[in-house]
Amino acid sequence: MAYMNEDGQWIVLMGLLVAVGLFFLALIINQSALVGQTTAEGVLEFPKNDIQDLRTAVFDYVDQFPYPGDPRVQEDIIAISLERKNSLVDFSVGPKVQVSGRDLYPITIHYYNGVTKYDETVYY
């Protein structure tokens, strides 16, 4: 059996290491398409627009129907929220109280969609 020179194996091994390195770099570039997925899912799941919209609706309601308000419109908002947004909504408006020298309506808003719960007491 002829004598075998194995020095060349190191070159092959180093070549393999470079190849593996390139492979992982390619993997990183591949994954970069997914940047922002968790953020986007978080934004979609959190009902920011629902809550902002509900607040606007409640403030509009108070503008149009000052205390004691119109229970029919209030029931509209509660019923449609439950039916179309799967969210339990309740709000109430009290008689004007003095806050920092101004007469404002105390409003309590409750919102719960099974995941996110939001409670607020605001003077409007």
Binding site: L44, N49, D60, E75
Partner: protein
């Protein structure tokens, strides 16, 4: 003296193992194709765009702080003006540089029927036909109406004539 020639064969074996593992990983992972659409990023952007457009439409035009000044959105719903509603919504959605957008939309109004205690709806815009397979997002906006809207479809003309809150729902998708 200890002979270390065997180390080279060990490393070779490790390298061969890594190659086999990588091959198995690549073969198995080809069965699931992960596209950017799965990341919900376009959904999030579309939902935000729709919400912003509805907020713009619901902003009164007049600078006077007058209760009778109604926003375009309220005006269109009160008159059931499907054409103007669609035109303005699409116009606001497409306000950007470059070519037009392939945005499609449907809009429905949900109202509370106190007599039956149910929530019913009618169509405000259904010009784009949905097949049900679109990856649509839903944006909503509360609208306060002082009275019953005009020009309602036949099926819902019994909607109460009273001040009420209705929910406008817009389905948005791209083709």
């Amino acid at each position: 003296m200890v002979n270390d020639r065997g180390q080279l064969y060990t490393m070779e074996g490790v390298a061969a193992g890594i190659i086999m593992l990588l091959t198995a990983y690549i073969v198995i992972s080809t069965t699931s194709i992960y596209t950017p659409g799965d990341t919900h990023i376009p959904d999030m952007q579309l939902e935000q765009l729709g919400s912003d457009v509805l907020a713009m439409m619901d902003t009164p035009n007049s600078k006077e702080d007058d209760e009778s000044q109604e926003s375009d959105l309220v005006t269109y719903i009160l008159a059931t003006d499907k054409t103007s509603f669609r035109a303005m919504f699409r116009d606001y959605c497409n306000m950007r540089a470059g070519s037009g957008d392939d945005l499609k939309m449907n809009a429905y109004v949900y109202f509370h029927d106190r007599d039956t205690g149910t929530v019913r709806s009618y169509v405000l815009d259904e010009e784009d036909h949905a097949t049900g397979r679109e990856n649509a997002v839903r944006v909503t906006r509360w609208v306060q109406l002082p009275e019953r809207p005009d020009n309602l479809p036949m099926a819902v003309t019994d909607i109460d004539n009273r001040p009420q809150a209705v929910l406008l729902e817009v389905l948005l998708w791209r083709t």
